[in-house]
């Protein structure tokens, strides 16, 4: 069901459900109280399983190396220290090999440009595929669907080949341009535009507006919810992107949070060393997406459900 539902459909359905929910009681009677206590314990236990790793991550960032190694589970640092964070922000001398601020700025730069590009190009393509009539449209849509099925990891070497052939390997261009369009985003936008009533456009057309004007100042403003979903998904996707950056760049100056952290963590097989630093870096790299997540959770939910058609 979710497969065909557009963002709007789902929103509408949710409003409907909300109304239904508040009006009615549960179908079956409440559990007896021993069962309820047990149930709540279980639920809290499962919840803890999901929270505890993050809590440990947060606390370990403030531990010293030996403390982290000998008391990995304790939720109170024996000797609280901000050494890891000082190293990350270059405040202390020994910031060797962890140019965190460079990673951060690369990640931010790439994510912002990619997001802007995706929002523009995906909605243009989505609109054309939903509304404009031109030869080859259905072929192109079939192409988009086919592209969605191509797994990214099978393209690691192929992508490297192409970037290298074009002579843009190890540049920002190589990091950004291939990510500027994504098929799933086009699909979301197309589904949305199809739910927009034609009458609005017809009215504008009668008023003498051109195709681009109709798209830009009539249809696009109506697409706000879909655009927000797309923005958030694109930002999350490009911020967390790893494999593409791994094959598109090599030198330290282009490392992002993901490639930098991954190389730092996997390369340093020194066994149990520098975990406060690694975990602090990992924590900071999740913060922007986490912040977005807590502010715009429902759009993530939309995204997850449209992910149902993604593959």
């Amino acid at each position: 069901m979710t497969a065909t539902a557009t963002t709007e459909d789902r929103r509408a359905a949710r409003t409907r459900r909300k109304a239904a929910r508040s009006a009615a009681r549960p179908v079956l009677p409440r559990f007896p109280s021993p069962a309820r206590v047990l149930g709540y314990t279980l639920v809290v236990g499962v919840g803890l399983l999901y929270l505890l790793p993050f809590a440990i991550q947060l606390v370990t960032g403030f531990k010293t190396d030996p403390d982290a190694a000998s008391h990995p589970l304790s939720l109170l640092p024996a000797t609280p220290t901000t050494a890891a964070y000082q190293r990350l922000f270059g405040l202390s001398e020994s910031a060797q090999g962890v140019p965190f601020l460079r990673w951060l700025s690369n990640s931010a730069f790439v994510a912002v440009v990619v997001t802007a590009g995706r929002v523009l190009f995906d909605s243009m393509a989505g609109y054309a595929l939903a509304r404009l009539r031109f030869r080859g449209r259905s072929v192109l849509f079939g192409f988009v669907l086919a592209v969605m099925a191509v797994p990214g990891v099978a393209l690691l070497i192929p992508k490297f080949l192409v970037l290298n052939t074009f002579g843009i390997f190890d540049t920002y261009t190589a990091m950004i341009v291939p990510l500027l369009v994504d098929a799933a985003g086009i699909f979301i936008m197309k589904q949305f535009f199809e739910s927009v009533p034609r009458e609005v456009e017809e009215a504008a057309r009668v008023d003498g507006a051109g195709v681009f004007r109709i798209f830009w100042s009539v249809v696009l403003p109506m697409a706000r919810p879909a655009l927000i979903t797309l923005t958030i998904l694109s930002f999350q996707g490009s911020w967390n992107e790893f494999t593409h950056f791994l094959v598109a760049t090599q030198s330290g100056q282009y490392e992002t949070l993901t490639t930098g952290l991954a190389r730092f963590v996997s390369g340093g097989l020194g066994g149990g060393t520098q975990y406060p630093l690694k975990l602090a870096a990992a924590l900071l790299s999740t913060l922007p997406v986490a912040a977005l997540f807590f502010c715009f959770q429902r759009y993530f939910v939309n995204g997850a459900n449209s992910g149902a058609v993604k593959e």
Partner: protein, 388 residues
């Protein structure tokens, strides 16, 4: 104002018997089939420009996807037929054209390449076999919990369960690397209940062989008989059947933990779509909770269940990030997956032909699964669509 119109239309569309699983169907004016009325109504003027505009609008998509998706696939197809070390120009004739040799070395020729490829397939197969059912069950369980109307703080729970899914795979892998160290948090937890945890990332022993060894059925250190004497693709039956290694299990746990949230949401949406009347009717008949689940809820979830299973099946064959951070194949090649093998053949061993060939086999495998999924979902969608 305009938004409101959209919404009401949206809910109308939802109420209508809209066929499921046909995302592929554009609302095709101009294509074959009955010409929609809109076309006739539309003013002839502007029609002509539309084609040009249409191509203009899709041109960024065509260029980028063409250059960075279609072209790479074709180039890699060519390179997979070469013996190319990454130095010369693969299109200039300096690299040896070896035909299907790279594929032969992986599939039929007895040798190290085939052993490694078979090992990676075995590892990934166990990964799939464990991850997919576990994450589906867990996601279903979580969705049922969060859907309990009597439960307090459902929103907070949903947020908690979903959060790991949105974080970067690299960051959570780092966390798990710390948690599962030999003297790490997980083993301290286990020691509370008197269990001595293994040295997770250094333990190449297969879990299945350990269990069988404990039961005294086979001696994992010296397998005998048919298990040791027969082999397939360079691995003995025992090696095929020894199960995922302890190290691989941590990656499986990580995958289950991170993906269950997303699938929970898909289940949740489906659960909330179950018509209330259906549940109420069942309640009137005096069913208990288990019967309600067994006879009403689960059957209603079947299409979504299939969707989640196939999505899981497709994505688990692509595991790469976690392997890169947590093992890179170690210990004893037991965390090697085809995706990582392809990468390391190319970039570590400078054998890009071999790497491309592995990538192609993987691509074919995943595309087959996708085609299967779309085909079955379409079938099911039509059936349920008719039923409604």
């Amino acid at each position: 104002m305009s938004l409101r119109t959209t919404r009401s239309r949206g809910s109308a569309a939802r109420g209508a018997p809209r066929s499921t699983g046909a995302p592929g169907e554009p609302d095709t004016p101009g294509a074959t089939g009955t010409p929609p009325t809109a076309r006739n109504r539309a003013p002839r003027a502007g029609r002509r420009g539309e084609g040009a505009w249409g191509w203009l609008f899709v041109s960024p998509m065509v260029i980028i996807l063409g250059l960075f998706l279609v072209l790479p696939i074709l180039m890699a197809l060519w390179v997979s037929l070469l013996h190319w070390d990454g130095q010369s120009n693969p299109f200039g004739g300096q690299a040896d054209f070896v035909g299907l040799d790279n594929y032969r070395a992986l599939l039929t020729q007895d040798g190290l390449d085939r052993t490694l490829f078979a090992t990676s397939l075995r590892n990934n197969a166990y990964y799939v076999l464990l991850t997919v059912p576990l994450q589906t069950l867990l996601a279903l369980g979580l969705a049922l919990i969060v859907n309990q109307k009597v439960l307090r703080a459902r929103g907070a729970l949903r947020t908690t369960f979903f959060f790991p899914s949105v974080t970067s795979s690299i960051a959570v892998s780092t966390v798990f690397l710390f948690l599962f160290q030999g003297s790490g948090a997980v083993n301290s937890l286990l020691s509370w209940i008197g269990v001595k945890g293994p040295n997770w990332f250094a333990d190449p022993r297969g879990v299945l062989s350990l269990i069988l060894g404990d039961l005294g059925i086979v001696d994992p250190e010296k397998p005998a008989g048919a298990l040791a004497n027969h082999s397939f693709m360079g691995l003995s039956w025992f090696e095929w059947l020894s199960g995922p290694s302890v190290a691989m299990c941590t990656i499986i746990l990580l995958a289950v933990w991170t993906t269950s949230g997303t699938f929970m949401l898909i289940f949740l949406a489906a659960l909330q779509d179950i018509p209330r009347e259906l549940e109420e009717a069942a309640a009137l008949e005096g069913v208990n909770r288990r019967q309600l689940l067994r006879y009403v809820t689960l059957p209603a979830l079947r299409p979504v269940l299939f969707l989640v299973l196939t999505l899981g099946l497709i994505s688990t064959w692509q595991v790469f990030d976690q392997v890169y951070v947590m093992g890179q194949g170690a210990p004893g090649n037991t965390t090697l997956t085809p995706a990582f093998l392809s990468y390391s053949s190319g970039f570590d061993n400078a054998d890009f032909g071999q790497g491309s060939a592995i990538a192609f086999i993987l691509l074919a495998l995943i595309l087959c699964l996708t085609v299967l999924q779309r085909w079955v979902l379409r079938e099911r969608g039509e059936r349920t669509g008719r039923k409604r």
